[in-house]
C-alpha cells in the first residue's frame, strides 16, 4: 500500500492485487468515491452545511419572536426576493413562512445535519478504522447511501420553492394537519417532505446494514466484542436503532403520501371539519396511527442522536484523562439496554391525546426505566475524570461541557415523562428547552469535540487551539443563554407554537414577564452565530496553516484508528493489525509509556 507522502503515483503493479490500480479522476475520487473515508468526509461537510442552514432558519424565526411583525434586517429583503411577497412582504416573516421554517428547522437539524454528522460522518470515517478494516463491508452501497442522503437533502431544499412553500406542519408532520395544510396544490411542500424522507430513510437503511456488517464481519483478529472501543459499540447500537426504527416511518410516509396524492383516509377520521366545512374524504382513518408510527421512529431517533455523541465523548475523555474508562463493561451493557428500552417508550410523546390510564402507566414506567442506562453511562464518564491528569485541550473542553449539558437535558426530561406534569408542560417552551439541551449543547458539543479530535488524523494538522477555545467558551455561554430562559418561559406557560412570540396566548397584553426574554434569546443566538465564525475560519485555515501532527498518533491514543498512517491511505492499514488488549490501556503501572496501543504485543 502507498504511504502517506507518496500518495498516488508510486503504487501500481509492484504488488499482487486482484484488481487494477489506477489514478482516479476528480469525480471518482471525490464525488463517486467508494472509500469510506472520502464518504465520511462528504457526509461531514454536507451535514455541517445543513447544520449551519438549519441554524440560519432558526435565527430568522427568533427575530420574528423577539420583534413580531418587524422587518428582518438585510435577510428579510433577501427572503422577499427569493420566496416572494406572499411569504415575506416588506421583509416581515409571514405566519406561513414561520411555520415552514419551524418544520424545516426540525427536519433539517435532525435528519440532515446531526444524524448524518454523528452516524454518517463519524461512523463512516472512524468505525472501520477502529475495527481494523480496510473499508466498509459494502463500499458501493456506502456510496449509494451518501447519494441518497444528498438527493434527499436537495429535495428538502427544493421544497422551499414549490407552490405554497415548504412543509409547514412541524417536523412531526402530524396528520390530519399535514394533509390538509395545503390542499390547493397537488405537489406541495408536504409531498416533497415525504419524498425527501423516503430517500433519507433508504440512505440510513443502507448505512446501518453496512455498518453492522462491518463491525460483525471485519473485526480484525483478536478484537473481541469486549475489546471494541466504546465509540464502536455506540455506533453498533445506533445502527440497530436506525435499522429497525426507521421502516415504520417509511410505512407511515407511504400512507401519508397516499392520503395526499390518492386522497385516501389512512389518517383522516370520519366527520373531520375544517374552516371549509366537512372534509370530502371517505374517513374512517386514525390520526393517532400516524403519531404511533412517527414516534416509534422518533423516540429511538433521540438515542440515535445521543449514542454516537456519548461514543465520541468517551474516546476523548479516556484519551485526555490518560485513564481507562471507568466501568467500560457497564457502559456497553447500558447502551445495549438503552437500545432495547428506547423502542417501548414512544407514547410519552402522546400523553395529550387522551390516553387511558393503564397504557399511560406503562409508558411512564418504561420512560423512568430508560433513564437508568443513560445515567449509568453519564456517571461512568463523570467517574472516569476522577484522579486523571486532564489535558484541557479543545476537544476535551467540548467533551467535558457535554456532561453537564446532557445532564440538564436529561433531568429536565423527567417531568415530561410523567403524565401529570407533562400535560401542563407539553405544549410549552419547556419542551423546547429540554430537547435542545440534549441535542444542541449536548450532541453538537460532542460532535465538535469529535471534529477537533479526529482532525489531525484526517488532515495531518491540528486545528488552532486559541481559535478553538474562543469557539468553545463563546458557544458554551451562548448556548446556555439561549436555552435556559426557555425553561422559565415554559414554566410560566408560554406556548411553543405561537408565531408572534406568545403574546396572543397570554392575551390582553398580559405578559408574565417572560416575553421580554425572547429578545435576549435572539441576541444570544446572534452571538452564537458569531462564535461559529471562529470554527469555520479555523476549519479551513488549519487545512494549510495548522500545526503539523508530528506522528500518526498525535494524541497518544490506544485505539486502532490511530494505528494507521496519516493521512490514512486507501485500504487504511499496511497489513491487517492484530489486537492484543482492551481499548483503553492508559497509564498501565510499569509500562514504558502512559498508553499501550491495542495492537502492541506484550
Amino acid at each position: 500500500m502507498q504511504t502517506a507522502t507518496t500518495h498516488a503515483p508510486a503504487h501500481g503493479h509492484d504488488h499482487a492485487h486482484a484488481h487494477e490500480h489506477h489514478e482516479p479522476g476528480f469525480f471518482s475520487k471525490y464525488i463517486f468515491s467508494t472509500d469510506h473515508k472520502v464518504i465520511g468526509i462528504q457526509y461531514g461537510i454536507t451535514s455541517l452545511l445543513f447544520l449551519f442552514f438549519g441554524f440560519s432558519l432558526m435565527m430568522a424565526m427568533r427575530w420574528q419572536l423577539a420583534y413580531p411583525g418587524k422587518a428582518i434586517p438585510v435577510v428579510g429583503e433577501l427572503l422577499r426576493k427569493v420566496l416572494g411577497d406572499e411569504m415575506a412582504s416588506g421583509g416581515v416573516m409571514s405566519a406561513d413562512l414561520y411555520n415552514s421554517f419551524g418544520a424545516m428547522h426540525g427536519t433539517i437539524m435532525v435528519f440532515l445535519a446531526i444524524v448524518p454528522l454523528a452516524f454518517g460522518a463519524f461512523g463512516n470515517y472512524v468505525t472501520p478504522l477502529q475495527v481494523g478494516a480496510p473499508d466498509m463491508a459494502f463500499p458501493r452501497l456506502n456510496m449509494a447511501s451518501y447519494h441518497m442522503y444528498f438527493w434527499g437533502g436537495v429535495i428538502m431544499l427544493a421544497s422551499f420553492f414549490t407552490p405554497g412553500g415548504a412543509a409547514k406542519s412541524g417536523w412531526t408532520s402530524y396528520s390530519p394537519l399535514a394533509t390538509l395544510a395545503d390542499t390547493s396544490n397537488t405537489i406541495n411542500g408536504q409531498t416533497m417532505w415525504l419524498l425527501g424522507m423516503v430517500m433519507l430513510i433508504t440512505s440510513s437503511l443502507l448505512g446501518s446494514v453496512n455498518l453492522i456488517t462491518t463491525i460483525i464481519q471485519l473485526r480484525v483478529k483478536g478484537l473481541t466484542w469486549m475489546r471494541l472501543p466504546f465509540f464502536t459499540w455506540a455506533q453498533f447500537v445506533t445502527s440497530f436503532l436506525l435499522l429497525l426504527a426507521f421502516p415504520p416511518l417509511e410505512a407511515a410516509g407511504l400512507m401519508q403520501l397516499a392520503d395526499n396524492l390518492l386522497k385516501s383516509s389512512f389518517f383522516l377520521p370520519t366527520g373531520l371539519v375544517t374552516s371549509g366545512g366537512i372534509v370530502p374524504v371517505s374517513g374512517g382513518g386514525n390520526p393517532l396511527l400516524w403519531q404511533h408510527l412517527f414516534w416509534f421512529l422518533a423516540h429511538p431517533e433521540v438515542y440515535v442522536l445521543i449514542l454516537p455523541a456519548m461514543g465520541i465523548v468517551s474516546e476523548v475523555i479516556a484519551n485526555n484523562t490518560r485513564k481507562p474508562l471507568w466501568g467500560y463493561k457497564s457502559m456497553v451493557y447500558a447502551s445495549i439496554g438503552l437500545g432495547f428500552v428506547s423502542f417501548i417508550v414512544w407514547a410519552h410523546h402522546m400523553y395529550l391525546t387522551g390516553m387511558g390510564t393503564t397504557i399511560s402507566t406503562f409508558f411512564q414506567t418504561t420512560t423512568m426505566i430508560i433513564s437508568i442506562p443513560s445515567v449509568i453511562i453519564l456517571t461512568s464518564l463523570f467517574i472516569s475524570l476522577w484522579g486523571g491528569s486532564i489535558r484541557f485541550n479543545t476537544p476535551m473542553l467540548f467533551a467535558l461541557a457535554f456532561l453537564p449539558m446532557f445532564g440538564i437535558g436529561g433531568l429536565t426530561g423527567l417531568p415530561l415523562g410523567f403524565n401529570a406534569s407533562d400535560i401542563f408542560l407539553h405544549d410549552s417552551y419547556y419542551v423546547i428547552g429540554h430537547f435542545h439541551y440534549v441535542v444542541a449543547p449536548g450532541t453538537i458539543f460532542a460532535l465538535f469535540a469529535g471534529v477537533y479530535f479526529w482532525y489531525p488524523k484526517i488532515t495531518g494538522r491540528f486545528m488552532n487551539e486559541i481559535l478553538g477555545k474562543i469557539h468553545f467558551f463563546g458557544s458554551f455561554v451562548c448556548m446556555n443563554l439561549i436555552f435556559f430562559p426557555m425553561f422559565i418561559q415554559g414554566l410560566r406557560g408560554m406556548s411553543r407554537r405561537m408565531y408572534d412570540g406568545g403574546s396572543t396566548y397570554f392575551g390582553n397584553g398580559v405578559d408574565p414577564g417572560v416575553l421580554k426574554l425572547n429578545e435576549g434569546i435572539l441576541h444570544a443566538a446572534l452571538a452564537l452565530a458569531f462564535f461559529q465564525l471562529f470554527f469555520i475560519v479555523n476549519f479551513f485555515w488549519s487545512l494549510y496553516g495548522g500545526k503539523k501532527a508530528e506522528s500518526s498518533n498525535p494524541w497518544n491514543a490506544t485505539t486502532l484508528d490511530w494505528a494507521t498512517p496519516t493521512p490514512v491511505p486507501h485500504g487504511n492499514f499496511e497489513t491487517a493489525p492484530t489486537v492484543y488488549r482492551g481499548p483503553y490501556e492508559y497509564s498501565v503501572p510499569g509500562a514504558a509509556r502512559d498508553f499501550i496501543p491495542q495492537d502492541q504485543k506484550d
Binding site: 460483525i216 377520521p269 370520519t270 366527520g271 390520526p287 393517532l288 423502542f343 407514547a347 390516553m355 393503564t358
Partner: protein, 122 residues
C-alpha cells in the same frame, strides 16, 4: 456472535452447513412447498367452517400461515444455522411485537367518554 478469538485454520467450515446431497435438498424443498400449498388450501377451507368466535376465526386464519412461514424460514432460508442470523432475527421479534401490540393496547385503553379516534364528533 461469538468472540473473534478465532484461528484462521477453521476455514473449512461448509458454506451452508447442511449435510445433504443436492438431490436430497431438492426433495426437502419439494416437500416444504407441497406442505405450504396444503396449508394455504386448508386456511381457505377453515375460513368457511363458520366458527362462532372472532378470536377462533382469526387464530385459525393465522395458525396455518405461521406454520407455513416457519417451514420457509427453517428449511428454505436455513435461518437457524447461523447464530448471527437467528440472533438478529430474534432481536427483531420484540420490536415487531411492540410495534403491533402497543398501538392496539393504546387504542383500546381510553378514558370514559372519549370518542374513538377514527370518528371525530364535534
Amino acid at each position: 456472535m461469538s468472540d473473534a478469538t478465532h484461528t484462521h485454520t477453521s476455514e473449512t467450515v461448509a458454506v451452508s452447513g447442511h449435510h445433504r446431497t443436492p438431490g436430497e435438498e431438492r426433495k426437502v424443498y419439494f416437500t416444504v412447498a407441497v406442505t405450504q400449498i396444503v396449508c394455504a388450501v386448508l386456511t381457505v377451507l377453515a375460513r368457511y367452517w363458520q366458527l362462532d368466535s372472532t378470536a377462533l376465526t382469526i387464530a385459525f386464519a393465522l395458525l396455518l400461515p405461521c406454520i407455513s412461514a416457519s417451514l420457509v424460514a427453517c428449511y428454505l432460508m436455513h435461518m437457524l444455522e447461523r447464530k448471527a442470523v437467528y440472533m438478529s432475527m430474534a432481536l427483531t421479534i420484540p420490536f415487531f411485537i411492540a410495534m403491533i401490540a402497543l398501538p392496539l393496547w393504546s387504542d383500546g385503553n381510553r378514558p370514559k367518554g372519549y370518542h374513538h379516534a377514527t370518528h371525530y364528533v364535534p
